[in-house]
């Protein structure tokens, strides 16, 4: 059965434009379409009418790249938990529904155009320490560095973050804690991340706080995260940050990468 929907979409010419909502009719939408495919259909209509199509971010369309992401009826990535916008299918809507589509809202994510926002603040956080400074060389033999199963699993859970920014979008404080915590934790849990552990958390948190708000432990981020990142990682990051600050009362960590004591 095909759906007829009313879309209320945020349209904004550019970063300096005021922006406003426009209403569109989306007819003949099959329930098998993804939300992005539905927007494609609307854009085809707009092009046929010689109107500017709706700009939205997308890339892989299989939930792994983290590019897509719009706020649908007040929820980042729409009503279903654990999915990205491209994985949201139109069968979750009813014919006659009015759907409000908005970009991520946070000071750190200025709108570039329509539903596309600049998530460069995330790149700044990664640049501050979301990597390992080590000559990697050739791949080493398996199990040379032993990692317990529990640790490997937890690190993998953190590494599942696709950096879409839904956590920031969902947070009433515009906080970037869940993203930063995932990126800090997946390295800080593993042996390869230990030498730069304290420098990493200090540097990444300090960068995060330049752009984002502060965590009030609402748990809204966790609820919308398409990768299922747990707010336990926020606690992990807080602990590492506080430990780093207490270890390094003279602020040397950021000047020299201090090897961990073990």
């Amino acid at each position: 059965m095909n759906l007829s929907l009313t879309l209320k979409v945020w349209r904004q010419q550019g970063p300096d434009d005021e922006g406003c909502f426009e209403t569109y009719q989306a007819n003949d939408i099959t329930e098998h379409m993804s939300f992005l495919e539905m927007l494609d259909v609307v854009n085809e209509q707009l092009l046929a009418e010689n109107k500017e199509p709706i700009a939205f971010d997308h890339d892989c369309r299989e939930g792994i790249c983290g590019m897509c992401g719009v706020v649908i009826n007040g929820k980042p990535h729409g009503p279903n938990g654990g999915t990205t916008t491209c994985q949201l299918h139109m069968r979750h809507f009813k014919s006659g529904d009015t759907i409000t589509v908005e970009p991520w809202r946070a000071r750190a994510f200025p709108v570039i155009k329509d539903l596309v926002v600049n998530r460069g603040a995330f790149d700044k956080i990664i640049q501050a320490g979301g990597f390992i400074t080590a000559p990697t060389g050739g791949a080493q033999d398996a199990n040379l560095t032993l990692v317990s199963k529990a640790t490997a699993d937890t690190a993998m859970d953190a590494a599942a973050c696709i950096g879409c920014g839904a956590c920031v979008a969902a947070c009433p404080n515009g906080a970037g804690q869940l993203f930063t915590a995932a990126k800090v934790s997946h390295l800080n849990l593993l042996p390869q991340g230990q030498p730069e552990r304290w420098a990493r958390v200090t540097s990444m948190v300090d960068t995060m706080e330049t752009y984002f708000g502060s965590c009030t432990n609402y748990g809204e981020c966790e609820a919308v995260c398409p990768a299922g990142i747990s707010i336990n990682f926020i606690a992990q990051m807080n602990r590492d940050y506080l430990r780093a600050k207490f270890k390094d009362k003279r602020g040397q960590i950021r000047q020299v990468d201090v090897a961990d004591e073990g």
């Binding site: 009826n73 409000t100 000071r107 200025p110 009030t216 432990n217 009362k249 602020g251």
Partner: protein, 279 residues
């Protein structure tokens, strides 16, 4: 950016910052300057205030003891004499009070400045409705419950510490002051409402502090919520029982005060109905 106001089409807009970070001289100031540090300070001061609230409640429950007037007044006097003679009279009390005042001020300062930061970081909300997925009522109303508790604290001090909101106030006689104050039903109602707000505040705070301090472990994460629920419930039940007892007329019975008729009773926490039957 090509010229003054027009940006090259497709160029990403600059990322606005919510604040500039400076390097202060002291590590403690620097830690407090970070939002994560402020949350840690809120958690630690919260623990101090939770400890106070618990001890305060336990002390207050002496009003239900037989011979309550003697017990409560003696307890009040004891608090002033702790630490004597190595400390002057009320010396220890003022050390505790100083720690509490400092905790309270830091807690409020951190809350106010983080709220301001958060408002700045999220200038625009959503049109499509704000349906919270996870945030509890307590979490969303922390700022309101905090303000209510703060105003209530001021009233509470005026009522039972300074006495300017209590016409029958006699310095050094807490039992008389408490009973006289709670005989006025609007005051009893204020105490009930404020303590419910306190319970709501504690419910989120006592869980949230574990997150802020990074105290998490799969083995006790469930227990953190239970702890918060239990703590909030104990505080609310303990504190609200006193104004409720006053409204129910429990303190009107003179035997309760002198304890003469209660000596034969088996249960020390005799409900008001038993008292009425005895008179």
């Amino acid at each position: 950016m090509l010229s003054g106001t027009t940006r090259e089409p497709g160029a990403a807009p600059p990322i606005p910052t919510v604040r500039e970070r400076r390097r202060p001289s002291s590590w403690a100031v620097e830690l407090y300057g970070s939002a994560v540090g402020k949350k840690a300070v809120m958690a630690v001061t919260g623990i101090v205030l939770l400890g106070f609230v618990l001890v305060h409640m336990i002390g207050n429950l002496k009003v239900f003891f037989p011979d309550a007037e003697k017990h409560l007044n003696a307890y009040g006097e004891y608090l002033r004499t702790i630490g004597e003679p190595i400390l002057p009279r009320t010396g220890f009390l003022w050390i505790v009070r100083s720690a509490l005042i400092l905790s309270f001020l830091l807690h409020i300062h951190a809350a106010v400045s983080l709220t301001a930061l958060n408002r700045k970081a999220r200038p625009k909300g959503y049109e499509g409705g704000r349906s919270y997925s996870a945030a509890s009522y307590a979490a969303r109303t922390m700022r309101w419950s905090g303000v209510i508790v703060g105003l209530y604290l001021l009233f509470h001090l005026m009522d039972l510490t300074w006495g300017n909101a209590n016409p029958d106030f006699i310095r050094g006689e807490p039992y008389n002051n408490l009973v006289a104050s709670l005989q006025r039903w609007p005051v009893a109602l204020v105490y009930i409402v404020a303590n419910l707000a306190l319970g709501v505040h504690i419910y989120h705070g006592a869980w949230s502090l574990f997150q802020s301090l990074g105290l998490n472990n799969p083995r006790f994460n469930l227990w953190r919520k239970r702890f918060a629920q239990g703590f909030a419930a104990i505080i609310v039940i303990g504190n609200v029982s006193i104004p409720v007892a006053a409204l129910a007329g429990y303190f009107d019975d003179p035997e309760h005060i002198t304890g003469e008729a209660t000596a034969t009773q088996t249960a020390p926490f005799a409900p008001a109905s038993n008292q009425a039957a005895g008179s």
